[in-house]
């Protein structure tokens, strides 16, 4: 009836997961009670859960990502403190637990932390920046988000019921085959990543289609903001490489469930094939994350320098260059497998060539500031921190791309320090810069600047104090994933790293404080104009937060930096463009299909993990039926009446009049 599931799956003898489970369940119940008591269910259901509004979905993606970042950070705290306590001592996590912690940390941070945040930014921004009212497939978009949430939920369920994989975040066979890892951990990993991978692919298809087919009048490709270019490149990589991940995991699933022999030790299986396939996805994945972050920085450098981005076409070229070359470098993750010097040479050179694209970008950002009026507000602080951190990370990355140097640093703490250097310095700093920058657009008020600066400095200093010692440890010969350590020389560096983690904790607390204080003071931080940073792209032409239809009238773009052009014209002529003739707007209706599908895929994944075949069958059929019912609906759009469109837009125009007056008075525009 319940497959392999019984009471022994509950971690009764393990205080850490048990107490964590208890607290999380308590919080969840409290939140549910609060929502019920306040009568918020209808609001949540109609405005968020079933919403097909790309902005709402983007915000939900970011919320999921932030929660998962905190979960992954908790794992990180455990790993660093455990290693510091496990020098000639057992530490506080036994191997079978510690191994799950580092596996969960990697999986969650990349796939359920960084990915949702990056997808969230793309969802929120791309239609606004392109001057359109939604993505190409709004309902499909909702399905994509909820499938990602479904995967994240499965990973977290493994904390309470059963175990998570203890193989590392990429489960290399033969270790991940049933012979060596018989538990449910790898199965949780497989189904969680598989389900969320489908969700990511859906979003990728959606954004690619939106950028290619749905730009507003006049928005030619070479007038798009660079963020849209990076989103396009990133999503093309998703479309090209996530199927590789799906296929690879499906093959490992068949090995584990049906005893097939794709990657097994024996009977003709080839574990090296898994390593190649998974990195053929895994390396582009890094660029899927970092390219949109580059887009965010491009917007910020330009806005806060009061100048157009330097070398726009060069930036576009560099983005596409990185996009293509990133699919030709995967072997640098295993130079030490002994592929031979010719193969290693090819992949070593192709990997370092990527540094040309990123190098060009760095110089272009510097020249964007040249001749500008640089304002060091919080997004700009993150961007400057990024330049410094990412350049160093790039340097160590090129070192690792040199096969003979990699032969002594592969899998070492040097490697760990390197990829945190680029992923935190690039992706996470980019995400925090972006959250600060677009928060007023999404919620209508700015974040508190003082707390933002405090958070930046704690994160920046904390990062370097945490990871510099790891570089040293790698050069001292320390490999990654050690559950205990018996080399006395490593002790001081592990201790320093823990101090860094302490500083990072202060950074996280400051971020939370920033949010709390900002919500408390939201009236004073209110963004009434819709353009709080003197922005240059079309999202700043909308009120904050934008109406669900984004634009009352489709903008007509006449050059690069669409909104900057509108602003300049308004200041020159001392008036806004004449009031347009409003027309009714058609918008897609909400749909619960994403939520239902994800509910049943979660049940399906859980049932498959525990071999509850009847439940898996029921859930699979139910998920499919959801789609069929959805396909039968007759009404998929509704009309927004002229009066509503006009009243929303007149309010926006009134705010713009005030902004125009202010801009003229300040003479900020040349």
């Amino acid at each position: 009836m319940l497959g392999k599931l019984d009471l022994s799956a509950i971690p009764l003898s393990q205080p850490i997961p048990l107490i964590t489970s208890f607290v999380v369940i308590l919080i969840a119940v409290a939140v549910l009670i609060l929502i019920t008591a306040k009568g918020w269910w209808p609001y949540l259901w109609h405005e968020w859960i079933t919403s097909v509004d790309h902005k709402r979905i983007g915000v939900m993606y970011c919320l999921l990502g932030v929660v998962m970042l905190i979960r992954g950070f908790a794992d990180a705290i455990m790993m660093r403190t455990h290693q510091a306590l496990a020098i000639d001592a057992p530490g506080y996590l036994p191997p079978e637990h510690y191994d799950q912690v580092f596996t969960a940390h990697g999986t969650i941070m990349i796939l359920f932390g960084a990915m949702p945040l990056v997808l969230g930014f793309m969802n929120f921004l791309v239609p606004l920046q392109l001057g359109v009212r939604d993505v190409a497939f709004p309902t499909f978009n909702s399905v994509g988000f909820w499938l990602t949430a479904s995967g994240a939920l499965l990973v977290n369920v493994s904390l309470f019921v059963g175990e998570f994989a203890r193989t590392g975040w990429l489960p290399y066979p033969p270790l991940s085959e049933t012979t060596y890892t018989p538990g449910v951990g790898v199965d949780y990993y497989l189904w969680a990543v598989q389900i969320s991978g489908v969700g990511t692919l859906i979003t990728g298809i959606n954004i690619v289609t939106t950028v290619l087919k749905m730009r507003c009048p006049g928005m030619s490709f070479l007038r798009m903001p660079v963020f849209c270019w990076t989103a396009l490149a990133s999503c093309m990589l998703i479309v090209a490489t996530f199927p590789i991940l799906s296929a690879t995991l499906a093959m490992l699933t068949l090995d584990r469930y049906l005893g097939w022999h794709y990657f097994t030790n024996t009977a003709g299986g080839n574990p090296m094939m898994f390593v190649n396939l998974v990195w053929a996805w895994g390396h582009p994945e890094v660029y899927i994350l970092v390219l949109p972050a580059f887009g965010i920085f491009s917007e910020i450098f330009s806005t806060f320098s009061g100048k157009p981005l330097f070398g726009y076409r060069s930036m576009v070229a560099a983005t596409l260059f990185i996009c293509i070359v990133s699919m030709m470098v995967w072997l640098h993750h295993f130079f030490t497998m002994g592929a031979g010097p010719a193969v290693n040479t090819f992949f070593g050179i192709s990997s370092s060539i990527i540094a040309v694209g990123t190098g060009v970008k760095i110089y272009n950002w510097i020249f964007t500031m040249y001749g500008g009026r640089v304002r060091f507000e919080v997004p700009m602080l993150w961007s400057m921190g990024f330049i410094f951190t990412f350049i160093i990370g790039g340097l160590t990355g090129v070192l690792l791309a040199i096969p003979p140097a990699d032969f002594v640093t592969h899998n070492s703490m040097f490697l760990v320090a390197h990829f945190h250097n680029v992923i935190i310095g690039g992706v996470v700093f980019g995400i925090f810069a972006g959250l600060e920058f677009w928060f007023p657009k999404a919620f209508g008020f700015r974040l508190h600047e003082g707390w933002g600066k405090v958070a930046f400095w704690f994160a920046f200093i904390g990062f370097w104090v945490t990871f510099t010692p790891l570089y040293v440890l790698g050069l001292l010969g320390m490999t990654r994933r050690l559950q205990h350590i018996n080399i006395e020389a490593w002790r001081p560096w592990l201790y320093i790293s823990v101090i860094g983690v302490g500083i990072l904790i202060l950074g996280v607390i400051s971020q939370v404080m920033q949010l709390v204080v900002s919500i408390r003071d939201r009236e004073t931080l209110r963004d009434v104009t819709g353009d709080p940073w003197d922005g240059r792209s079309l999202e700043w032409a909308t009120p904050s937060p934008p109406p669900f239809f984004n634009f009352a009238v489709m903008p007509n773009v006449e050059g690069e930096e669409a909104y900057w052009g509108i602003k300049l014209r308004a200041v020159e002529t001392q008036q806004l463009s004449p009031e347009p003739k409003y027309e009714p707007i058609h918008m897609p209706v909400n749909s619960p299909v994403g939520f239902f599908t994800a509910f049943f895929t979660t049940v399906f994944g859980f049932a498959m993990v525990w071999y509850i075949w009847w439940l898996a069958s029921v859930a699979l059929v139910a998920a499919f039926v959801g789609f069929v019912v959805f396909a039968w609906r007759d009404i998929h759009e509704f009309e927004v009446p002229i009066e509503q469109v006009a009243s929303v837009d007149r309010a926006r125009r009134a705010a713009r009049e005030a902004l125009l007056e202010k801009l003229t008075r300040q003479e900020v525009l040349p």
């Binding site: 640089v374 032969f407 040293v472």
Partner: protein
């Protein structure tokens, strides 16, 4: 070893010496034990390439970082001396330079990658007048087996090599992936089931070194360490003589026991070997390790670990 002729000035030599000790001069770390403190020709080449490349890139990276901060500071909004150029967003000359700098750097490093990959190919024998010592390596759950086919002996978690003699390692795995790595000797390589990797290393001087697995292989991974003793050539002969003929013999039955998972295995020796054993393991004529066993300390119970949760 054909020495790499790419930049290896006295500066880099000095740096290689200075770096680990420089770090330790903070009074925190021991000066020995790392990959920048090599004891053999391969490790020395690895370290040289690592440091030379870092120096080459630092020559570009440091000015770039300084430029970034200088420009940001110079053109801060509150500085009236920074001229505001609100429309300056393209310059063909600047573009040419910003594409050229990384391209030239990468071309230079590309040459280093190309030459270095061939020079330091782990499969390539070291040039030496001394006949290499053959050692066959098998990674097991969770221990290292070293077979000396020429000497007819074998050891567990303990590698004794004669100094100033090239060693040819043939490496395979009896279960999952591992990586054979002696940081102070240089290059690592994967140990993989059903395959044999080749690695050539040499210790120039006598010394005690740390050997590890550098690829996570399961719960007992952290203890997959082995002592490496580089001894004078004469002492090596004496050591072989003391081991040979004493203690157990590594036959199929003894090997079957090694296949069982075990953690924290102390070093030991075998006085005799089955000479066909390594080939039989690599060809998988002997089935790979069985993984966790029912009732064993690390079996996952009813497929669910009773102890480990996350």
């Amino acid at each position: 070893m054909g020495r790499l002729q790419i930049p290896k000035g006295s500066l880099c030599r000095a740096l290689r010496g200075a770096l680990p000790c420089g770090l330790s001069s903070v009074g925190l770390a021991s000066c020995s034990g790392g990959v920048l403190d090599p004891l053999g020709p391969v490790g020395a080449e690895n370290a040289t390439i690592l440091i030379d490349s870092a120096v080459i890139m630092l020559a570009i990276v440091v000015p770039t970082i300084l430029l970034a901060f200088w420009v940001a500071w110079r053109y801060r909004a509150s500085n009236p001396r920074g001229e505001y150029l609100p429309y300056w967003s393209y310059s063909g000359r600047v573009e040419a330079v910003v594409w050229s700098i990384p391209t030239l750097t990468v071309m230079f490093l590309g040459g280093l990658i190309w030459i270095g990959s061939y020079e330091l190919d782990p499969f390539r024998p070291l040039p030496s007048k001394v006949r290499p010592l053959e050692v066959q390596v098998v990674s097991l759950d969770w221990k290292w087996l070293f077979i000396y086919p020429q000497q007819g002996i074998a050891t567990i978690n303990q590698l004794v090599v004669p100094a100033a003699t090239p060693v040819h390692f043939s490496i395979t795995s009896a279960s999952v992936f591992n990586a054979f790595f002696v940081p102070r000797l240089g290059s690592m390589i994967y140990a993989m089931p059903g395959m044999v990797s080749q690695l050539h290393l040499q210790a120039d001087d006598p010394g005690q070194l740390l050997g590890i697995s550098a690829q996570f292989s399961g719960d007992g991974f952290s203890d997959m360490q082995f002592q490496v003793k580089s001894v004078p050539a004469a002492d090596f002969g004496a050591w072989v003589a003391s081991v040979r003929g004493t203690g157990p013999v590594l036959d199929r039955a003894a090997y079957a026991e090694l296949l069982q998972q075990a953690q924290r295995v102390p070093p030991s020796t075998y006085g005799g070997i089955d000479p066909q054993l390594f080939l039989a393991v690599a060809n998988q004529q002997i089935a790979p390790g069985p993984g966790p066993q029912p009732g064993g300390p690390h079996h996952a119970g009813r497929e669910v670990s009773t102890s480990g949760k996350d």
